[in-house]
Symmetry: C2
């Protein structure tokens, strides 16, 4: 967001005070704190609201300064006046996911039953649970139907879940770089990350909140392992190759001789300041459990049966975490469900992370789709 952007709200609301949220696990949560930001102004008939869903390590600060890092929002390139998600036209909502650690109820918050942090007593949550909580927020905001729901990676999973669970509440949907289920390889990488956290003696079975030390070393390793998967070999080669870090020759030691090592260590160290290790466990687990076809008797098309939502599916050619083939499976299911769907594979060597980066073809695709959707919705241009 630029300095002249519309008013930005950093808000929170307590949801599920009367009716608790029933989770997939069978557990329930009441008095859920839901932290969210909004950008732009909701129009009179509340038809211009766009829900932005964040990824695994994202947060509600999609287009405003992240309070811990002081950095600009993770989708600042995308959201703002005159930008793709144009805050002079649309009312953008982005909430921290259930199980998160930036204000929405998660494992680091107090368990009302004990008065101490949940830790591993927090119930396992699913993508569907995250979306249920967002639907409660939608009710609270009095928005009958989102003009659009958009997100990349785990954000894209939420988009698919939204369109499947609440078709009448989603006018258009833009799932980016995601899949309708988490692959064995992706579960494997998540498990490596969880084991790295759990191997840290400071994790203490998840009960570290009252202690001085946190499982930062394990969480940093988890982040490093994950970060490699967000990039492509081509991107790593272009950015770093075998270039040395601030030196002319190999040191014949275990210092970060190579730029790529230095970069990864930086990613790990910076992450632990802004993220809770238990949230990392819970959110990765939610992604692992995601399998939209399984929830519909094995048929992904059934998940979208009779949908009137307009879809725009976007994949990246060099994304090996959520390869184009898996995005295409979603498109095929949507076509089988007779949905209105367009699909673009963006040619880029930036890997999975392309959805967060300056990727003009992504911007153009989303912009064009929103424009035609706005016309259908009767939104003033």
């Amino acid at each position: 967001m630029t300095e002249n952007s519309p008013i930005t709200y950093d808000q929170s609301v307590v949801l599920g005070t009367e009716t608790p949220l029933a989770l997939d696990s069978g557990a329930s949560l009441s008095n859920i704190n839901m932290a969210y930001c909004t950008y732009g102004t909701l129009n009179e008939d509340k038809s211009n609201a766009i829900l932005v869903c964040h990824a695994l390590t994202g947060d509600q600060y999609a287009a405003s300064r992240q309070p811990v890092t002081g950095k600009s929002g993770w989708w600042d390139l995308m959201i703002g006046p005159g930008k793709i998600l144009d805050t002079s036209k649309y009312f953008i909502v982005c909430s921290n996911v259930l199980g998160g650690c930036m204000g929405t109820t998660g494992p680091k918050d107090n368990n009302p039953e004990t008065g101490t942090p949940f830790g591993l007593d927090f119930p396992i949550i699913t993508i569907a649970d995250m979306v249920r909580a967002q639907a409660m927020l939608q009710d609270y905001l009095g928005i009958e139907s989102w003009f659009s729901v958009i997100g990349g990676s785990m954000g894209g999973m939420q988009v698919l879940q939204w369109a499947s669970a609440y078709p009448e509440r989603v006018f258009s949907a833009i799932p980016i770089a995601c899949a309708a289920r988490h692959s064995a390889q992706n579960i494997a990488f998540h498990e490596v990350g969880r084991q790295a956290v759990m191997a840290d003696p400071n994790w203490q079975g998840g009960d570290y909140y009252s202690r001085e030390t946190k499982p930062t070393a394990g969480l940093a390793v988890a982040r490093m392992a994950a970060h490699v998967t967000y990039l492509s070999e081509a991107a790593l080669h272009r950015k770093f190759g075998r270039n040395l870090q601030d030196r002319d020759n190999l040191t014949y030691g275990f210092d970060a001789d190579f730029q790529v090592e230095s970069y990864l260590r930086y990613q790990g160290i910076n992450f632990v300041d802004r993220f809770d290790a238990n949230s990392y466990l819970y959110i990765t687990r939610a992604m692992d459990y995601f399998d939209l076809a399984q929830d519909h008797g094995g048929s992904l098309a059934k998940a979208f049966d009779g949908t009137k939502t307009r879809f725009c599916v976007v994949s990246f050619s060099s994304d090996w975490l959520f390869p184009t083939a898996e995005n295409r499976d979603v498109v095929h299911a949507l076509i089988a469900a007779a949905a209105n769907v367009s699909f673009v594979e963006v040619e880029t060597d930036k890997g999975h992370d392309a959805f967060l980066l300056d990727t003009p073809e992504l911007f153009k695709t989303v912009q064009g789709f929103l424009k035609s959707s706005a016309k259908s919705r009767g939104l003033d241009e």
Copy 2:
């Protein structure tokens, strides 16, 4: 090896007693213990010897029972009477690499200067250093020229280094699933593994040998992260998909619900019994440092200038750790150096690990190449 196989020797020799081994780092090592196994019988003119080079976590027990795990050798499918590396024709030598932990001098051995284990005082070693030590073993065995040098992954790097550094000592060379330099992505994965080890408080800066606890948790995480890269997404999908482990439903917890999680945990736990964490650091570093072109003024072709060695390069179509393109770079350099080279990309969905598995097209390729090489060498068929 079958029970009727030729005598198998599990031997060791102390090398560098008179002239220490000068390492790339500038350090030197004397009185190097070199542990090796041999299979088959050396012929009279010592022309039938094949050097098998092992990968990162391999050892000299290529075709005999691994003493720690009790399992059969890692290339038991390949080596034995009547097998591809036929011990009734050839004399197979496989030595534990310098820096290893199965008998050859490495960080867990005593530093003669202090009388206590080297730990991180062990000098950084390179692929070239490993090969120099193997050349000392070759001298000791009185073998002027290997009939063939063969290996996959890091073993393949050693093959390339052998052919480049000692062309006159290598009649034929079979580098499998490797590259002439370690890519940025591969360095990144190695760095994740090293950071996992170093994050374990039991690592103690590498000085854990006299303690009761070892950095097993960190090493297990490193192994798990690496193991994912050895397989292909297709292989993981075929083997595990999203199948659950000994249960019918998700448990909504952090147990290993999915078979792939259970498999990975098993890989991690089993590895730490047979491998030294510091050796893992040193050997991954050696791979990171490998860059054969860099050692020859940036020209890979120069690394093989004037070579008379016959080459057979093998890659696997689903190997994303050492993709076919990187193997092909080696082939192009060999062609530019006017070498005698054949190249096969084996179609398989098994990923990098295919070199260790029952991969008939690999076997056929190596068998055919060895047969024609034996004819050239004048070895009796």
